[in-house]
């Protein structure tokens, strides 16, 4: 090709004609389906999906009954929340005079606005629910163990961020539900005052008041709180959660993919008509040096694994579409709540926090400090320590770590449910120390109340299991199960069975109307 055979105008036309092909090639990098080995390996290097996932996936990782796809459901909910959230941001106005009416406009006149808000609401509920279930799944399959300890901690941070996102979003509609739920939340934040009041140092040292002011930007829920919650909800927490999600995924990949039972050998690979024992590397060639350990090892060898593309891709797509389908169906039939405009003069009775905090609110009704700070801190610290206290490498990748664990689970579940229900029955029917000894000092109630009693009962059970089985893992299963049972029962108690003035009612229809 010489320059004189190709005029500039001809070259321009030729490029124009070829541009669709060039665009396609530049987008796909390889341009066409791989045919040679070289192209196949290149397609791996050049493919975003395979950049994030390993090339082969262990078949056990694809078992639905092992993961229930919960991590993917969480990711999918977050994606749906981001998209619908950005759409809502177009119309939402974060001012106390404007917010409520802008949400009403989203409901009434924004095209499909009501549907988009419903999707946002339902995905948020789904995400909170899935984050608890995901944590339970990871715990019961022992997936927090070496080398995944630190990813468990990242997961805990993601749990906290998820609750924070949901809670900050709760205030934005600026309706009665939002206003009083956040008022309750802010009072929970100020609960260390119960202790500082009891020992009489609030005037000098008031961490509760500081926390409340930090949260609200004022002493009551108002414009400052709204803008604060808005910034947290649309900027700070989504950025944090995205960063930590990236870290979480990266660690999943680098820690060897999803956990599985490494003690059972995978079926040997077949080459031709012979079973072949494939060399399992203990050394890996990293990018910069020869390194020891498991770092980038994916399983032992190719046995029992399938190519990630397209098998894992289909699994992930299925979880995404499942999440979206469930959210859409719920959003079609059930509208997100929107009560009257926030009115500080008319308290909601009962004023309830969002559902996932109602277990805590139930505890707060016994002792503000224990329910608001004491128990949550104990639980978070306890959860964080699990992988460092239980260092027995056995039982990874097996639900409950085997039949013994399964037995411990059921026993602990029954014990956990019975004891919390019995304690609630006593509290509802007979009252507590304040009913029996009206003049008792508050500090005694802070120390001895149904919340601390249930924690003590659960810890005692766990210690007994430890003594009986001699296994830290078993005792952890016992404790985790008990807390899970307590969480479910207390949340149900706070959501369903507590009415005006936090009195007990079997059914909301028995509530007095005022």
């Amino acid at each position: 090709m010489t320059p004189d055979t190709k005029t500039p105008i001809r070259e321009f036309l030729e490029n124009l004609k070829q541009s669709p092909r060039h665009i396609r090639e530049s987008a796909m990098r390889n341009g066409k389906a791989p045919e040679t080995d070289r192209e196949r390996s290149q397609s791996t290097f050049h493919n975003l999906f395979l950049h994030m996932q390993s090339v082969r996936t262990d078949r056990r990782s694809l078992r639905f009954a092992y993961t229930f796809g919960l991590g993917l459901i969480l990711t999918a909910s977050f994606v749906v929340l981001t998209i619908t959230g950005i759409l809502l941001m177009v119309y939402y106005k974060p001012g106390v005079e404007l917010a409520y009416n802008s949400v009403k406009d989203i409901h009434f006149v924004v095209p499909a606005g009501r549907f988009i808000r419903n999707i946002h609401r339902w995905s948020a509920h789904l995400m909170v629910l899935a984050v608890f279930l995901h944590m339970a799944r990871v715990f019961y399959t022992g997936s927090y163990k070496r080398p995944r300890e630190f990813n468990w901690l990242i997961g805990l941070a993601l749990l906290v961020f998820t609750l924070g996102l949901s809670f900050t979003g709760y205030l934005l509609p600026w309706d009665q539900l939002a206003y009083w739920a956040v008022t309750i939340g802010a009072n929970i934040a100020s609960s260390p005052r119960e202790v500082t009041d009891a020992i009489g140092i609030t005037a000098w040292f008031d961490p509760g008041g500081f926390q409340k002011q930090l949260l609200l930007g004022a002493n009551y829920v108002g414009q400052e709180s709204l803008i604060r919650f808005y910034v947290l909800h649309v900027a700070v927490l989504p950025l944090l959660i995205s960063a930590f999600m990236g870290l979480h995924f990266w660690r999943v990949r680098k820690d060897g993919g999803l956990s599985r039972d490494e003690s059972k050998p995978a079926p040997p690979a077949r080459i031709g008509d012979r079973d072949v024992e494939v060399f399992a590397p203990t050394k890996t060639y990293g990018l910069m040096a020869v390194v020891r350990g498991r770092t980038p090892v994916v399983g032992r060898a190719p046995e029992g694994s399938v190519t990630s593309w397209p098998n894992l891709m289909w699994a992930e797509l299925a979880a995404f579409m499942f999440t979206i389908a469930v959210t859409l169906v719920l959003s079609y039939f059930f509208d997100a709540p929107l009560k009257e405009m926030a009115n500080p003069a008319i308290p909601e009775n009962p004023a309830k926090a969002p559902w996932y905090f109602l277990g805590l609110q139930e505890l707060v009704s016994y002792s503000a400090f224990m329910g608001g700070v004491g128990i949550p801190s104990i639980v978070l610290i306890g959860l964080g320590l699990i992988p460092y206290l239980d260092r027995d490498p056995r039982g990874v990748g097996v639900w409950f770590g085997g039949p013994a664990g399964r037995r411990t689970f059921w026993q602990s579940l029954i014990y956990g449910l019975t004891s919390v229900l019995a304690l609630l029955a006593v509290t509802v029917n007979l009252g507590w120390l304040r009913t029996w000894f009206p003049t008792i000092p508050q500090i005694a109630i802070i120390i001895l109340n149904p919340a601390t009693v249930i924690v003590a009962m659960y810890s005692a059970w766990s210690l007994w299991v430890l003594r009986r089985t001699g296994s830290i893992r078993m005792s952890a299963v016992a404790l985790f199960t008990c807390f899970l049972a307590g969480f479910v029962v207390l949340t149900a108690m706070g959501s369903i069975f507590r009415g005006p003035n936090w009195h007990f009612y079997w059914w909301p229809s028995q509530w007095p109307t005022h």
């Binding site: 499909a112 549907f115 499942f322």
Partner: protein, 477 residues
Amino acid sequence: MSGDPSRPFKWVTVVCSVVTVGFLVAAAVRENVSADWRGHQAVFRGILQIKAKDDAARATARNLPIEIRQVVVPALHTVDRCVTCHLGIDDPRMTDQPNPHRVHPKQLLAIHRVEKFGCTVCHQGQGAALNFEEAKAEDYFWDYPLLPAKFTEATCASCHDPRALPKGSVEKLVLGMQLFEQKGCNGCHKLNGKGGQLGPALDNEGLKTKHQFVRASLKGSQTNWNWFAEHFRDPAGIVAGSLMPMPALSQPQVEALTVFMLSLRQRDLPAEYLAPDKIDEQYARLHPPAPDGAALYHRYCAACHDTGLHTRWDKKFARFVPGVRNAAFIRTEDDECLAENIREGRPGTRMPGWGPKAGGLSDAEVTALVAYLRTSAPAMALPVAPPRGEATRGAALFAQECAGCHGIDGKGLIAPALANPVFQQAATDAFISQTIRAGRENTPMPAFGRAGVSESQIGDLLAYIRKWQPQARSQRP
């Protein structure tokens, strides 16, 4: 390897994708195509075409855009989308059409232009809504649901003095105002700073939300108007322990009072919205005409004292309410003493103070009330009181003759409390001794003078009764 390991995932993906697309389409249709208001506008387009008289009108009708319509009134902070369905609301040709296409009745919109007033300032309801149920908002979360037509005149009072409006236009509202005065509601309820304190003030009753009412015993509709109606029929049946008497009202009267209650709104409306008569009414409140004692008595006193001619046993108070227009009583009290009792009330009893700071009555109004009470009998020159005698002898006599009704400690049982500081302050010795001597006609208080109690014994009683006199304040001679 047996089969395709991703087959179940493919199935889930396909099924969920079908569900997703299906619901997306269904939602898009529901939100954008099948909304009620589109149907209403299409029907209205047809009506317009039938009513069109010439080609130009027919073309306009044919091209009527189907779109959301709204009236934005920044001065009232309202956005009313009611006109999205009520397209013919200011079209006088639409008198013969059914709702929602009908023109507004009584040609009211000729004076109240839709663009200036919108809809919800008069009708309440959720103006932002685009379907009738949510616009009506009775069972939805909205503070001010649509007022039923029979109560709508309540909101006229926001900008008008109802009495200045053409006769018959706000009949119920005017009747309600009259009933409020006649039935003595002000005796217990403050309005515009004037009135008793046994019940809550009613200044903003029409702007309360349903959550501000005690609805524990309210059956049926939970709206404010149903609460008012039920409460007027049986106050204690709705608010447990209510002292409010059952006023025995007819159905139209209940409705009229409900309208009046709903009309009580302290709204900060821009001056351009206020009718001149409303401004006159507000001016008259600040510059009241010469007070009329009889009217004041009916408005503020009659609820408890009734005609005032007889002592009345009140079941709810469980004590006698003095007959304050009883000639025998009025004769013995001088004007100053009456005025003092009205201004200060009787602490410890149900009688509140009515002076400027407490009940909101001006000095001129108290004087007018005293003048009205005085019409029962002129003040007599009281016989001089006997000198105060021996309190210990008085105590024995009091225990024997007086304590049965006035209480052993003088705090009152079924008869007035004599240990009451205002009584001690207002009553002279001459008044007390004359009452003991001559009794009080038409009340249970007998004439002890005729029953053999001597002047010196009255002196002893006086000495004992005066022991309850508060020390700090000087006694009237």
